[in-house]
């Protein structure tokens, strides 16, 4: 049976050795004088041998889980396989050793890739213009909402202070809304888990700056009334914002543009298969319809038929969102992914992702509660409520999965599903894997009934056992410095 590697590994800062790494100009004489009171007195870190550092982190890595090890069914996160060729490409000197402020003539390769990616994303999003600058989905949201603001203010419409979001929305949506200076109005979903048109109608007003949704929504359900929604929103003078985290459910089948969205952000690290180890880096480009183009952050990448250039000439640009042009090395990988797949390949991605999801959904139905309708797009949310009777929570199920060498799904999200288990297999799982996954989930369902202690004591086969999270938050120890204190 599965067992994760266990190395009893000290903190690197607790170790101490001899530096074996030599620096360029290691022996240069330091003749400068730093003002006494600005000079550093002490630095409490240690030296280590190069080989000990390597061993330390190789061991640590063996105590971690990645999509290169097994199914990683985190709903909403689209943990798909990341093609290795992309890693090869970004390891080239012409990616790594390029400074962002280099003269345009010396970065035509970078600019070409960015330009092509802009074009691809326009097509995929059904949008008229794209900025690659935001570096994560939430950053894309923030950017998009600043554009919303700029748009309304530019029309001298200063009363639009509200962003409407459904209660099924990801936490970043309301948080981004706040950061952009808006008030968030949350509306309840209807009994089908979809946007409640009456609630939306009630919430919409001339204070509404935008309605922000993802479609398929976080339940994996396609909002069938999307055109009506768009109409309602636009009639009120508001904009419709597309949270692109769920693009893997519709890419190539429809576009946000077609559905009536004005703004969309893309989660390149999800849909476009760029690795984001441990939580990032991502990339969250934003596409907009024509009317919003004049507000995009500077620069976008232009092409005059001969050469590529930074276009800073954007009339009412909101300025900058991040320091430079976005997460270039992530953009390159997304570009590579799109090149590999091509137009019809991207459509197939969606088809397989949706097929896999519904296959898994049907396999698990009967063992786990499925709230709302059956047909899902790229993800499906079950509920663990039927195990309450055995004293089992979704968290226990999740922990037990780890014992089988499987990562758990996203849990307790979306908030509208009690004891939620949110699964997204993505297209890069074979039927064999899905069958194995379902088999384990079904086994756990019966373990929950027959041997609930097994779940409550899980995990046993991981590098450490269940962790006391409450204590961690009550007495936070956040650095070696605080340990020593």
């Amino acid at each position: 049976m599965f067992h994760q590697a266990v190395w009893d590994e000290k903190l690197i800062i607790e170790k101490s050795g001899k530096r074996t790494l030599k620096l360029p100009f290691e022996n240069v004489e330091f003749k400068m004088k730093i003002p006494e009171d600005l000079a550093r007195k002490d630095l409490n870190i240690n030296d280590n041998e190069e080989y000990e550092v390597i061993r330390h982190y190789v061991r640590l890595s063996q105590m971690n889980y990645g999509v290169d090890l097994n199914t990683y069914p985190l709903g909403s996160c689209t943990m798909k396989y990341n093609p290795k060729i992309s890693e090869e490409i970004v390891s080239m000197d012409q990616v790594k050793y390029i400074h962002p402020l280099q003269d345009e003539s010396t970065v035509q390769g970078s600019l070409q890739i960015m330009y092509e990616l802009q074009e691809f994303l326009k097509e995929i999003g059904g949008m008229d213009a794209v900025t690659l600058q935001p570096v994560a989905g939430a950053d894309g949201e923030f950017t998009g909402l600043l554009l919303v603001r700029a748009y309304h203010e530019n029309r001298m419409d200063f009363k639009r202070t509200e962003i409407i979001v459904p209660d099924s929305a990801h936490g970043t949506n309301p948080a981004s809304s706040t950061m952009a200076g808006f008030t968030t109005i949350e509306i309840k979903s209807n009994e089908n888990g979809m946007v409640d048109l009456d609630a939306l109608e009630a919430a919409l007003s001339d204070k509404t700056a935008a309605f922000m949704i993802t479609n398929p929504n976080t339940l994996g359900i396609f909002e069938e009334n999307i055109l009506k929604i768009a109409k309602m929103v636009h009639e009120k003078g508001a904009l419709l914002y597309y949270d692109g985290a769920n693009l893997n459910g519709i890419m190539g089948k429809t576009t946000p543009g077609k559905m009536g969205f004005d703004i969309v952000h893309f989660n390149l690290h999800k849909t476009f298969a760029t690795p984001h180890g441990g939580g990032g880096p991502g990339a969250g480009p934003v596409g907009v319809k024509k009317k919003l183009e004049e507000f995009l952050p500077v620069p976008v990448i232009g092409f005059d038929g001969k050469k590529y250039f930074f276009d800073y000439n954007i009339k009412n640009s909101i300025g900058k969102i991040t320091g430079f042009y976005g997460n270039f090395a992530v953009l390159v990988r997304a570009w590579a992914y799109i090149k590999l797949k091509g137009g019809s390949g991207l459509k197939e991605v969606t088809e397989m992702a949706v097929l896999n999801t519904n296959y898994l959904r049907k396999k698990l139905q009967g063992y786990y509660d499925l709230p709302y309708k059956e047909l899902r797009k790229h993800e499906v949310v079950f509920s663990g409520t039927n195990f309450k009777q055995y004293g089992i929570k979704t968290l226990d199920i999740a922990k037990r999965m780890l014992d089988y060498g499987l990562h758990a799904p996203t849990i307790y999200f979306p908030l509208i599903v009690e004891e939620a288990l949110m699964m997204e297999p993505t297209e890069t799982e074979s039927k064999e894997n899905l069958d194995k996954f379902a088999e384990i989930m079904i086994r756990i369902a019966s373990e929950a009934k027959e041997n609930p202690e097994l779940l409550k004591n899980a995990p046993q086969n991981t590098a450490v056992g269940k962790i006391d999270e409450v204590e961690a938050a009550r007495n936070p120890v956040l650095s070696w410095k605080m340990i020593k204190k």
Partner: protein
């Protein structure tokens, strides 16, 4: 029967289209207007052909800094960060099976805490610029004041990002001046601008001109605002930590410590603060705890600050971040250790100042600031910025940052001026190439 057909049969569907019947016909598209996919080898060739149009540092030495720096990155850093288990992971939502990443991020936090002299760091922000935006918001959330004071010689991109981060709060940016001769903080001016409504004062050391500015030591005494220090993490090998001179928050660019330049991204926002403010801090934070058997274990903590729990009232909207860049930095700092970081800082400072002197010895090139510099310095040029820039390019060497052309003509007192960065990666040959080319324009 193949897998796909079996699955379709299991679902009782005849066509994959059945899975998309919930999408209204009116919004469906036939196909994406994107060329057919290509195979990996063809992509390999195409990517090489396209990227060959770039000039890397090995093709053409460059003396650019101004936010992103070219430092030596040990090959071991790449070896570590390219471990599948690290780079194909996501946020460690299940800590028991993610101890490797969690411990590494905890180590990163620990390094940053030691370097900055503050209690705690988060596991990453997007970059230095957004870290500044977040720090300003955090200051406001601590003291509810409305003004942030920033140095007049702050790079325009950072100002712009800051503005986007705080305008929603109705906050105001106020610039304080610097001494034209030394490039250091004009303390008088700063003092005059601090008032009851000052949420935060932001100051950098070394500053945008590369000047080492001991005036930062005097800021804390000027009032009760939140003091945000902008740092260069390598410089902290030899410079006093912000914690030691009273900063409440320290931010900086983590690309500098172990991440490749990558045409400007991904970068890594460093963010550290004092324990008393930790619950106002944005971003993921890793904490130490114990597992059920009492064994030390690491876990994401203080999550109630974050968007997935507190939603509209979260400290920030940040979710995906730059964790893998923090892995680069943690391993980088481990390879260097204390002696390496200190030495590296010294080498940078010495090399840059040597090159500075050599440039100043060329006829027509003048000193911009009579100060001590870390690894960056401004030079007043004998001719137009652009002309000299182009001349250098024609000699296959990339000069520094065009201080007025590229920074909205913010420094009229300097006229034509270039900001040069010199680090340990610039060989004697690289320097010679620059000097020879500069001599031709004197």
């Amino acid at each position: 029967m193949d897998d796909k057909s079996e699955m379709m049969q299991f679902l009782g569907i005849n066509s994959l289209d059945d899975l998309f019947k919930d999408i209204p016909e009116e919004v469906k598209i036939d196909k994406l207007n994107i060329p057919e996919g290509i195979d990996e080898q063809t992509l390999r060739t195409e990517a090489r052909n396209i990227l060959a149009k770039n000039k890397s540092f090995f093709d053409m030495p460059s003396f650019l800094g101004a936010g992103v720096y070219n430092h030596y990155i040990p090959a071991g850093v790449y070896a570590i960060a390219s471990r599948s288990e690290f780079y194909t992971a996501y946020t460690p939502y299940q800590p028991e099976i993610s101890q490797g990443m969690l411990q590494t991020l905890f180590e990163y936090q620990s390094y940053i805490a030691e370097l900055t002299g503050l209690d705690a760091a988060n596991a990453s922000m997007y970059d230095h610029s957004t870290a500044l935006g977040e720090a300003a918001r955090m200051a406001h959330s601590i003291n509810e004041k409305m003004e942030i004071l920033i140095p007049k010689n702050l790079q325009w991109q950072k100002k712009s990002v800051l503005w986007n981060y705080i305008k929603g709060l109705g906050m105001k940016i106020i610039e304080y001046d610097y001494d034209k001769k030394t490039g250091k903080i004009d303390l008088e001016d700063l003092k005059n601008k601090i008032n009851n409504n000052t949420a935060a004062v932001y100051a950098e050391n070394p500053n945008f001109f590369g000047v080492i500015d001991e005036n930062v030591l005097k800021i804390r005494e000027l009032g009760k605002f939140i003091f945000i220090a902008g740092i260069n993490p390598i410089s902290l090998g030899i410079l006093k930590s912000p914690g030691d001179y009273g900063a409440d928050i320290a931010i900086g660019e983590g690309q500098i410590i172990g991440n490749p330049m990558n045409f400007g991204g991904p970068l890594l926002g460093i963010f550290a603060t004092k324990m008393e403010y930790v619950r106002k801090m944005p971003g993921r934070i890793i904490g130490m705890s114990k597992d059920r058997n009492g064994k030390r274990a690491f876990v994401m903590t203080l999550q109630t600050r974050e968007q997935h729990i507190r939603r509209a009232r979260a400290t920030s909207n940040i979710c995906s971040n730059e964790a893998l860049c923090a892995v680069f930095s943690a391993s980088y700092l481990s390879f260097l250790g204390k002696s390496g970081l200190r030495r590296l800082a010294e080498i940078n400072m010495q090399r840059a100042n040597d090159v500075r002197e050599k440039i100043l010895s060329i006829n027509g090139f003048k000193n911009a600031h009579e100060s001590l510099h870390f690894n960056e310095f401004a030079i007043i040029l004998p001719k137009s910025e652009i002309d000299i820039h182009k001349h250098l390019l024609s000699r296959n060497v990339h000069g520094g940052y065009l201080l007025n052309t590229w920074n909205k003509n913010a420094f009229p007192e300097l006229g034509n001026a270039m900001l040069f960065n010199v680090t340990e990666v610039h060989s004697d040959k690289d320097v010679e190439k620059l000097l020879n080319a500069l001599k031709e324009v004197q």
